[in-house]
């Protein structure tokens, strides 16, 4: 009975992946009661995660899935296309959502005013639906639509921090302005593409653009899309919205957005650069080598140095995120299979690291109410599990063996060295050594400094520790056995470049 029901649902999984969270959002709003909304959002997140896992499994066994929404055939209707690349992005987004939600109850209760709870979870569900939609769709304009859903809901998720610190409002406003500029640039680019090719379907675009590669309109479209996505993914120097947004948002929002939102933008950039356009075009090689590559390198070093000087832990991690996005763009800029493999690996791995770290910081926020260098003093003793989670996450960020960070670094350096790009390998390693400094600043404060006199804090509640530690263990687990992630990343990278294994 259940078996046949499941097999009836199976073909429609791609639609359900987006539709379920999207339709749940208004229901969640109608539920009104904070706790009920939370329970509902949690169940929906888990369902979305299960769907994503099933899709990934289906893609790995049967290859690319194409799904026509509403039964309208591709050039006219909207088509969802799932290959190894976006299947893994779906798993990241839905997986982080599934882990963050159980954590959210205590954290949101402490950081967001009680009358806003059901609104908060509604915004979260919209954001989840938007991120999943951006990743799953095979239609360029549809990407924009979901991008806007994501952006508008994430402004709410960030400004929900206003109850703790009014600066959340300016941070959200900044993000709103810059995010809108980015999305507008993107849609202008898509419009220009439509003008010359007459299609919005990404697969069709990839067939028609090559013939037009010397067309000036295509060049302009390319520039608009790259800059627009650069803004959304916080590519240096378009990252200025990110540190404040991550610092003043509620901890749950920060953890969720840091681990998913920018990753999805990186994915969209990759999809357009390598599927719609191709690295063989003259203007593209120029962009990769002389725009993206230098910016990525600057981000890796400059943002890491900026992180060293931060006093607020969330801000520190935010700057570290800008640097880590630099690593991802670096892999894109190589334009090789190895480079894209490294980017996709880091996409996954960095979601695990930053998720774990921001969740640990959220635990500190709950118990201490202060996530600065002063607040973490002496926490090694007072909140041993939380700080241990932070240390492992930090080690992963540095790239210590047996953590996912090491796997990322290994493949990034391998990609650089196998192209003979020695100076780049040196920059990667230098920036990961600089990361030691900012991680160790926190470790020393937590373990070797005395807590402020008279402060008594307890360990974070289990409902927050367990999700944090799930991500921490994932950091170690996928660091010890990376065969699966490397395999998927490699398949995806070859798929993006159109190489048949």
């Amino acid at each position: 009975m259940t078996g046949s029901a499941l097999s009836g649902i199976m073909p429609h999984l791609p639609a359900l992946q987006v539709v379920v969270p999207l339709l749940s959002a208004p229901i969640c709003f109608l539920l009104r009661r904070g706790l009920v909304s939370w329970a509902f959002a949690t169940v929906i997140s888990w369902a979305a995660f299960a769907t994503a896992l099933l899709l990934l499994q289906a893609v790995l066994t049967d290859g690319t899935i194409r799904y026509e929404i509403g039964g309208w055939a591709a050039p006219w209707g909207i088509e969802y296309v799932i290959d190894a690349t976006n299947a893994i992005v779906l798993v990241i987004v839905a997986g982080i959502g599934a882990v963050v939600m159980p954590y959210a109850r205590r954290s949101v209760a402490a950081e967001v005013p009680a009358n806003q709870h059901s609104l908060y979870y509604t915004a979260y569900l919209l954001c989840l639906a938007g991120l999943l939609g951006v990743s799953i769709t095979g239609d360029a304009f549809n990407v924009f639509v979901f991008l806007e859903i994501t952006s508008l809901s994430s402004y709410i998720l960030i400004s929900a921090g206003a109850g703790m610190d009014r600066r959340a409002l300016t941070a959200a406003y900044n993000y709103l302005v810059l995010g809108t500029v980015g999305a507008t640039f993107f849609v202008i680019g898509v419009g220009l593409l439509y003008m010359v090719t007459g299609t919005l379907n990404i697969i069709d675009l990839s067939a028609r653009v090559p013939a037009l590669q010397d067309n000036r309109t295509i060049h302009v479209a390319f520039a608009f899309i790259v800059v627009g996505m650069g803004l959304k993914l916080a590519l240096f120097p378009l990252h200025t919205w990110l540190p404040n947004a991550y610092t003043y948002a509620p901890s749950t929002s920060t953890a969720f957005l840091a681990a998913t939102a920018t990753k999805v933008s990186v994915y969209v950039l990759m999809r357009f650069l390598f599927v719609v356009f191709a690295p063989t075009y003259g203007f593209m090689a120029l962009t990769l080598n002389y725009v993206l590559l230098p910016l990525a390198l600057i981000a890796m070093v400059a943002a890491t140095i900026a992180a060293i000087y931060q006093y607020n832990l969330k801000r520190l991690l935010a700057f570290s995120s800008v640097a880590q996005l630099g690593y991802m763009v670096l892999g894109i800029a190589y334009g090789s299979v190895q480079g894209l493999t490294a980017t996709l690996l880091h996409l996954f791995n960095h979601a695990l690291m930053k998720g774990a770290l921001f969740l640990a910081v959220g635990c500190i926020m709950l118990r201490v109410g202060d996530v600065t260098m002063l607040g973490v003093r002496g926490l090694g003793r007072q909140m041993p599990w939380t700080m241990a989670a932070f240390v492992v996450g930090g080690l992963s960020l540095i790239g210590v063996p047996l953590t996912v960070g090491f796997i990322s670094k290994w493949y990034l350096v391998t990609a650089a060295l196998s192209d003979g790009r020695w100076p780049i390998a040196a920059v990667i390693l230098a920036s990961s050594l600089l990361a030691v400094i900012y991680v160790w600043k926190v470790v020393e404060a937590a373990y070797f400094k005395e807590p402020p006199a008279g402060r008594v804090v307890r360990e974070a509640p289990l409902s927050m520790l367990v999700p944090t530690w799930i991500l921490v263990l994932a950091n170690v687990g996928f660091g010890i056995n990376a065969e699966f992630t490397v395999d998927v990343a490699q398949t995806a990278a070859m798929g993006l470049l159109g190489i048949v294994p």
Binding site: L402, V413, F448, D487
Partner: protein
């Protein structure tokens, strides 16, 4: 048990031990019993493996495939066998000593201390038995991280600063240079397996070999080659048992052990000899060897002097490897064992002196030898072994190293070995001489609290558990002198 499950046990035993130590933290006697039992079981396991290796076995076990083409493999070869024997054997003695020292000094956070110690030993076993460079690198990094809390143990500003230098230099060199070298090797040779004769022949342009070798040699910061030696003196802020086992045996020997592994199994000594890629290393190692000896003479702090002496002795081994001859490599390998025995004796004596008399500066130790004759006798034997006088073990490794130098016809290297031995005499023997022959330092004002205790002329040795271990290792220096042949027989296959 089959050899491969024994092999796995060498890794798991200390790890399980560390968990048990954490669980029994509230009951110190039980906790120390766990440490001792674990150390004993580990030594028995390693001994069983030794029997298997001597019978011609070559146990191997693949733990897991971390990424495609990058497996974690444990595989025994003679050099690693020797290193594992030295480390696991000395862990027992050092554990006894730790108990005496940590309790005698009333140190804090003892549970954390024993946990980290056990993890450090587990990673040392991982290094010793690593079947490829990737595995070795991973355990190498874990060893650095697990010893960091031991160096920072006291938590004072000094300890934190020392630990920062320690971590910064070791992580910095390993990620900045060693990892690059490993990835380069991986890309060029397509494998990282330790293979007799090396894996780089015809894989890399010979003119680039010296650069790759440099990335390895400076990347192995634990070998303390100048200018990346500063971490070792910095690590001396750690409690003495840490300095004794980790910074005279496990950590530093892991460094030179890695040097030997790279030279023998990655490059291959023949390739190095033919291309002369290691010529520059002879100069750097010789410089480190002599200048560290000279710096040691200027140090009044006993542990600092011993640290610089260690830096110098490590370069003996690096120099032996750089010579790229059979005798040089054999001598270097043997020196891992002989110097370990000698230096751990010296450190444990230094700790015993600190426990009994609370003295750290050599100039304060006048006449102390008459009060602590056992400690000083052990110190003398350890010192003589390091200097290289018969009938003590140290003579053999120096003998082989010098033979290696003679083989290459580099008489200047022979001269450097000899000059350095004289310098050893100059900075080690005066410590003993002061202890026995200078008038007692009774005139030095005692602290106010100690005024009640009358200055006696009788014996004032440290607790038994602090004195016995160095006496045992000193005895070991004598015993090893007579059994050096067996060790050489074990090692011989690495150069054939």
């Amino acid at each position: 048990m089959t050899p491969s499950s024994l092999l796995l046990a060498t890794l798991l035993l200390p790890l399980v031990g560390s968990v048990l130590i954490a669980l029994t933290g509230g009951r110190p006697n039980l906790r120390e019993a766990v440490t001792l039992v674990t150390a004993g079981l580990l030594a028995i396991t390693v001994y069983a493996l030794l029997q298997d290796v001597l019978a011609g076995g070559q146990p191997a076990v693949t733990l897991i495939e971390v990424a495609p083409g990058l497996p974690l493999v444990l595989e025994i070869e003679p050099l690693g066998m020797l290193f594992a024997c030295v480390a696991s054997g000395l862990w027992i003695i050092n554990s006894l000593y730790s108990i005496g020292y940590m309790r005698g000094n009333g140190e804090q956070h003892q549970t954390r201390f024993y946990i980290c110690f056990a993890i450090a030993i587990a990673s040392t076993m991982g290094i010793a038995f690593a079947g490829n460079m990737f595995t070795l690198f991973i355990f190498y990094e874990i060893l650095t991280l697990s010893t960091y809390p031991l160096v920072a143990h006291k938590g004072t500003e000094d300890a934190k600063r020392g630990a920062r230098v320690y971590l910064g230099l070791l992580i910095g060199t390993s990620i900045g240079f060693q990892m690059v070298a490993i990835i380069w090797t991986w890309i060029a040779a397509g494998t990282l397996d330790f293979t007799a004769g090396g894996i780089l022949r015809d894989k890399i342009n010979p003119t680039l070999l010296p650069i790759l070798l440099a990335l390895y040699m400076f990347g192995i910061g634990k070998a303390a080659l100048m200018p990346f030696h500063r971490w070792l003196p910095s690590a001396m802020v750690a409690p003495t048992p840490v300095s004794a086992l980790l910074h005279a045996v496990a950590v530093v020997k892991a460094g030179v052990f890695t040097v030997l592994k790279v030279v023998i199994y990655i490059f291959g000594i023949d390739l190095l000899a033919e291309t002369g890629a290691s010529q520059w290393l002879i100069a750097v190692a010789a410089f480190t060897l002599l200048s560290a000896s000279l710096v040691a003479m200027t140090k009044d702090n006993l542990k600092a002097r011993l640290a610089y002496s260690t830096i110098s002795q490590l370069s003996y081994i690096v120099l032996g490897a750089a010579l790229a001859t059979s005798y040089g490599v054999l001598g270097g390998a043997l020196h891992i064992a002989t110097h370990a025995l000698g230096k751990i004796t010296l450190f444990m004596c230094a700790g015993a002196i600190y426990v009994a008399a609370h003295k750290t500066e050599i100039s304060d130790m006048d006449g102390l030898g008459r009060k602590m004759p056992f400690t000083y006798a052990a110190f003398l034997i350890g010192a003589l072994s390091i200097i290289g006088l018969p009938p003590l073990a140290g003579v053999w490794s120096k003998w082989y190293l010098a033979m290696g130098a003679v083989d290459t016809g580099m008489w200047i290297v022979v001269a450097i070995y000899m000059i350095s031995s004289l310098l050893n005499v100059a900075y080690l023997i005066p410590i003993v001489a002061r202890g026995f022959f200078r008038p007692s330092a009774a005139l030095v004002p005692q602290s106010v609290g100690a005024a009640a205790a009358p200055a006696t002329n009788g014996l004032r040795e440290a607790p038994l558990l602090c004195v016995l271990p160095p006496c045992l290792t000193a005895l070991g220096c004598v015993v090893l002198f007579f059994y050096a042949d067996e060790v050489i027989a074990l090692l011989r296959p690495i150069v054939s």
